[in-house]
Assembly symmetry: C2
Homo-oligomer: 330 residues x 2
C-alpha cells in the first residue's frame, strides 16, 4: 500500500494510532486536532529543530527507514542535551513522495518511537506533506533543569573562560568513518556504520554536567573543530587541543589508520558532547558518569578564535581538517 | 551574494541579527546556541508545525519571498488560533538550494517578521539545510488561555454537539480563487491573489471565542467541507450547511460566477475560522468581534459523518466539491 492509497488523513490517523501508546499524562490534546496541548509547570522551556533531507543528509540505499526515524529524533535530542535540557515533546514533519510505501512509514515511526522511548520523548504532533524527496523535520520541546536559585541550569556556548578544560564524551570520528564505509558498500551492521545510522547522544551525562555546574557545552554535529570553533568565537578565546588525546576507537584506527585523526577532527555527526569548564568540575563529571569522558585540551587566549590542534611536542598541526558546512559549495 | 558565499554559519549569524530586535523579555537564549530557551509560567502549552514545499504549496514565479515568509508563519498561527491559543515562539527551518540569493532570504525574513509582529510571535531558532528545492517548516509554540477554574480554554474538534450552530469568519473561497488567478498570470496585487499569498487568520476572534466558551473550532486550510468533515467524524455527527448562507465576497462572485460556491466549499487555504457551539454563545461572539461572523449551518445526527450542503429548499446538493488531500494522487 502506498501513501497515495491512504491519503493524508488516513496516514495521519494511522500515525496517531501508532504513537497513542506512548503519550504522557501531561498531554491534553495529541495528534488529530489543530495543535498539541500539554500541561507544563513553571520554569524554562527549550526548543530546537533539525531537518534531514534525502540525498543531502542520508541516502535511502543505506539508511533504513527505522534508522532514519531514530536519527531524525536523536539529532534534536543531542541539541537539547547540549543545553543540559530534558527533551519532552516532539512534532514530526514528514515530507515524502506520494508513492512512498506505507510500510516504510511504519518502519520510520518504529525507529522514531524507539528513540523516543530511550530518551523520554513523546511524539505529539506534526505534519505530512508531499515533496519530491523524503525530508524529515523534528521540532523538539523540553525543559531546563532548575538550580537551587530558581535559575535554569544551562550549558551555554558563550560560557567558556580562559583556563577551562575541554572534555569530550565517547569516541570521535566513528560516525564519519561509518558514512565512508556505507558509501563503500559495507553493510549497515558494520559497527562504525551503526554509529553513523543510530547516534546515541549522551543525554544523562549532559544532565549531570549541568547539575554539577559545568558552564559550557556543545554537541559534535559538524565536526569537533568546527563546533568548538563556535565556542571559541563567541567566547573570544582559542582552544588548544592535544591531537594524541583525542579519543579514537580501536575500530576507527583499524579501518582508517591514516585518516582517523582527520575524521575525528572534522568528520561530524558524532553527536557526542563537548564540555568546557573548570578542571575540578570536569573531573567531578568524569567521576559521576558511566560515559567515557576524555580531557582533550583547554581554552587559551588567542591569537584567533579557532581551535588549534597540537602535537605531542606542543607544535600546531596545520592545516587541520575542517568541519562540514551544509551550505557552502562542495 | 549567494547562500554558498556566506555559508551556513554566516547565514545563521545574519538571520540572528535580523530577528534580534524582536526578542521578548522572557527569552533566555535565542538563535546561536544549541536550542532556544525561554521562561514560561505554569499553564498549558500548545505546539504545531507546518511545511510549505516549493512546487507543491507555492511557486516562486508568483509568490515573492516576502509572501512566503508571511505565509509560512501565518498558517501555523492559524493552527494555534484554531485551538484558541496564543502563539509565542517560532522555530523556522529553511531548506534551500545553495545558489539561493541571500537577498531573497532577507526578504523571506522580512515577511516572517511582519507576520510575527502582527501576531506577537518571536523567531527564536531554527535550522538551515541544503535541499534541491525551497521548503519552509515553522514550528510554533504558544500557550492556552486559562479559565477561572484553572483549565485551558480550548477550541476542540471533538466538542461539537447535536444542535450546535456553525459559523465562519470572513469570506470563503477567495484564496482558492486567488490561486487560480495567479496560475492564469494575473499579478500578485490582485485582491484575491493577495488573500492567497498573505492569509490573515482571525486570531483575536478565536481568542474571544475560547474565552466566551465556544467549545469547538477548526481553521479552514483544506477546504470548508473537508475541514468540517474532521469535526463531523470525530464528533459522530453530520453538519447541514446552507449553500446560500456561505459568505462569498463580491470579488469572488465577480471573478468566478459559476464556480464561486465550489471554491468556497472545497478550495482551501482560507485560514478563516469555523466555530461550532450553542447558538447563544455564537451570537455573543458575533457581537464581540470586529471580524464578520456568518452562521452557515448546524450540527445534525447522521446519516454519515460528512457535511451536507443544502439548497434554499433544504435539498442536498450532490456531489459537492471536495477539499484538498495533499497526499492522494491528483
Amino acid at each position: 500500500m502506498r501513501v497515495s492509497d491512504l491519503g493524508e488523513f488516513g496516514l495521519i490517523e494511522r500515525l496517531a494510532a501508532t504513537v497513542s501508546a506512548d503519550l504522557p499524562e501531561a498531554l491534553v490534546v495529541g495528534i488529530g486536532d489543530d495543535a498539541a496541548v500539554w500541561r507544563a509547570a513553571e520554569g524554562f522551556l527549550l526548543a530546537t529543530t533539525d531537518t534531514l533531507v534525502e540525498g543531502v543528509h542520508f541516502r535511502r540505499e543505506w539508511a533504513s527507514w527505522q534508522d532514519l526515524g531514530w536519527k531524525a529524533l536523536a539529532v534534536s535530542v543531542s541539541d537539547l542535551a547540549a543545553m543540559g535540557g530534558e527533551p519532552q515533546f516532539a512534532l514530526v514533519t514528514l515530507a515524502l513522495p506520494v508513492d512512498t510505501e506505507v510500510g516504510d512509514i511504519d518502519e520510520f515511526y518504529k525507529g522514531l518511537r524507539k528513540c523516543g522511548a530511550e530518551y523520554g520523548v513523546s511524539v505529539v504532533g506534526g505534519d505530512v506533506v508531499e515533496a519530491p524527496q523524503v525530508a524529515v523535520t523534528v521540532a523538539l520541546v523540553g525543559r531546563a533543569q532548575i538550580g537551587d536559585d530558581g535559575q535554569p541550569l544551562l550549558l551555554r556556548r558563550d560560557a567558556a573562560r580562559f583556563g577551562h578544560v575541554i572534555a569530550v564524551t565517547g569516541w570521535l570520528g566513528d560516525s564519519a568513518a561509518g558514512l565512508r564505509r556505507l558509501r563503500d558498500g559495507i553493510p549497515a551492521d558494520d559497527p562504525l556504520a551503526a554509529v553513523h545510522l543510530q547516534p546515541r547522544p549522551p543525554l544523562q551525562t549532559a544532565h549531570v554536567a549541568a547539575r554539577l555546574g559545568v558552564p559550557c557545552g556543545i554537541d559534535v554535529s559538524d565536526g569537533l573543530l568546527q563546533d568548538l570553533g563556535h565556542v571559541c568565537r563567541i567566547s573570544g578565546l582559542t582552544a588548544d587541543l592535544r591531537a594524541d588525546a583525542l579519543p579514537l576507537s580501536p575500530e576507527l584506527r583499524a579501518a582508517f589508520p591514516q585518516e582517523s585523526l582527520a575524521l575525528a577532527c572534522g568528520g561530524g555527526e558524532d553527536y557526542q558532547m563537548v564540555f568546557v569548564g573548570p578542571s575540578g568540575v570536569v573531573r567531578s563529571l568524569a567521576d559521576s558518569t558511566e560515559d567515557t569522558l576524555t580531557v582533550i585540551g583547554e581554552m587559551r587566549e588567542g591569537p584567533g578564535w579557532t581551535p588549534r590542534l597540537l602535537d605531542a611536542a606542543g607544535n600546531e598541526l596545520s592545516p587541520v581538517p575542517s568541519g562540514w558546512d551544509h551550505l557552502r559549495d562542495r
